[in-house]
């Protein structure tokens, strides 16, 4: 693979995450994701490229809710890639796991082999109510039924930033490209950047003492770093 100047990484600070789902909504708006109604949720078919997993801990009255946003981890050693029979998913030079919609036939092996449940299948042709038709983002394809889609780290925004940067004969600056979820997060729990730039925020967060990766023992090499929640003791 040719050497690129960028390797995109995301950092998710669980301590700052309040579970507000702003990232989920922003992602849905940015990426033309079909609407999820309660029928979809009950049928386990909700399409949420980034989702907030919520776990309850403890017994009443000390019940705590734990939130963890999970999106495609763009694994270096992605298990979804070797199993696609038509090469519809592969790794690009910038460390992103990319999905080629026209090529996907919809066998769903990649979705089965993703340990993060990060891949979504379009069971129906997507339909938006008349009032929402104008909100669709023209930079992002609308996917038909029968194919797999997932978080792309808002590759349309990355490409736009890269085009501008190339025109100005420079590299993309840190903070210049923000995926929709990062942009929308009210507590700045999400950080995104180029790990090949030693000055970027993500590079400086890489060695964080609270840092961990999801399912590290699987060896898939996820490119999302999570920062553990700081536990506060409740006295008295």
């Amino acid at each position: 693979m040719p050497q690129a100047s960028y390797k995109w990484q995301m950092v998710v600070d669980i301590d700052r995450c309040t579970g507000c789902q702003a990232c989920v909504v922003a992602c849905q708006a940015e990426n033309n994701i079909p609407l999820n109604d309660d029928v979809a949720f009950r049928a386990f078919r909700a399409n949420e490229w980034v989702r907030i997993e919520r776990y309850w801990e403890g017994e009443y009255p000390n019940v705590k809710a734990r939130f963890i946003p999970v999106m495609c981890q763009h694994c270096d050693n992605a298990p979804c890639e070797p199993v696609c029979p038509v090469y519809a998913t592969h790794h690009n030079e910038e460390g992103l796991n990319v999905q080629i919609y026209p090529r996907c036939v919809g066998v769903r092996f990649c979705a089965n082999n993703c340990p993060y449940h990060a891949r979504f299948f379009n069971w129906w042709e997507p339909v938006w109510p008349e009032s929402l038709r104008n909100h669709l983002n023209q930079d992002v394809t609308i996917r038909s039924r029968g194919l797999i889609e997932k978080c792309t780290f808002c590759i349309q925004r990355i490409r736009r930033a890269e085009r501008e940067a190339t025109r100005e004969r420079r590299l993309v600056a840190d903070g210049e490209v923000l995926p929709a979820c990062v942009q929308a997060c009210p507590t700045n729990a999400l950080v995104f950047g180029n790990v090949k730039d030693p000055q970027s925020r993500v590079s400086r967060l890489l060695g964080h003492e609270r840092g961990y990766r999801l399912l590290r023992e699987l060896g898939v090499g996820p490119n999302v770093l999570y920062l553990k929640k700081v536990e506060r003791e409740v006295h008295g």
């Binding site: 049928a43 029979p85 919809g106 769903r108 340990p115 449940h117 299948f121 129906w124 699987l218």
Partner: protein, 457 residues
Amino acid sequence: MEARERLTEAQINEDLLGPTLRTPRWFWPVAGFLALVVLAGVVSFGLMINRGLGLTGLDRPVMWGALITTFVFWVGISHAGVMISSILRLAQAEWRRPVTRAAELLTVFALSTAAIFPLIHVGRPWRLLYWFLPYDFPRMVWPNVRSPLIWDPAAIFTYLSGASLFVFVALLPDFALARDRTRGWRHRLYSVLSLGFRGSLRQWKLQAIAGILLSALILPVFVSVHSIVSWDFAVAMSVDGWHATIFAPYFVIGAVHSGVAAVVTVMALMLWLFGWKRYIRPEHFDSLGKLELAVGIGWFYFFFLEVVFGLYGLGGPDLAMKQMQLTQWPWSLLFGIFIVTAAFIPIPLWMFRRVRRSILAMFLVSISVNIGMWFERFLIIVPGLARKQPFAFSWGTYSPRPVELIIVAASFALVLLGLLLFTRLFPPIPIYDMKEGQVLHQDLQVGRRRVPGIVRE
């Protein structure tokens, strides 16, 4: 082996070729009904193409369900044909004679039906050219040979062509026989198919050698096909319940287990529908039953190993799948049904000679085995996906919807219909093989007993 009556050639010809040339009365109503079921399946598939896979019960994370279960099921059934035909032929077991063609046919039709399922369950069937045929020549994008789903078609089509050749070579003398006894369009059909077989010494020799060579060569193919299908699951390292090294031989022996039971079902049906009491006798079911006993015990051993080692990492994520299978309703009920119908009823029953020699009992037990084996595949696929990895928030469930169940039923109808239509054109019991058995059968006088014997050079 048992003593049996001597049959003349003319009698054999009449008994075995007769039903092919003269359509029995029940034939068209039954075939018509099966065709209707198949049609219902086609309509369901059409609906799925038209509306989307949302019509199925699939969801996230259970993206493979009843359709893939049935795919694996039919590939499994297709294994019996080769097992019985080639292994028994190579071991020169006499009792194989009436069974071989039915078994081989079951292979061909079951495998063809199985091959339809991957086409049905993909999201965009109209784009399948990317998958089955290298399509994007100009853009140099080839199918991904690292994917088990590319190994699958290679294995299945190799097996299908091998098995079809096998059936054809074994049919040659019977084509010739039918050609010499028919007129009109049948005569023309058999003339073309028999490739000029006249029964000369050289032709018989070639036919025998071809049969033996194919028997030996198709054995590795037979082992590899279901292994490759099992690797669709076993190499998926994310699904802990699937990621076990034992899947390949476990699936193969499970396939033989269900496949031999399917052969018993077909044999019993042939006996009852065509009245071939002199050719399909209790001793055949006895031998099939002993084979099933050995295979069934072997399969249970592999199943046991898989369960024990699956629970091995106690407290690990693989435990969640087992918990779902064994303790959660309704999966625990399905598990109970599976283990009772596939193991706890058949295996003890096959130990008794009286059961093995009773054709009705063998028929019912064989159906029980296949019900159980369908659930076995279902219980591997669905709970494995439903409890994938420790993200319990994203765990799910699955229940099949009508379109899927109709398609599953249609697959059964398709296989039966294929077998039935075959009998209109070709004899399902190898006539020349039965005649050979008659010639090689001699009685021996041992002391005061007459013992049936086989001629060996």
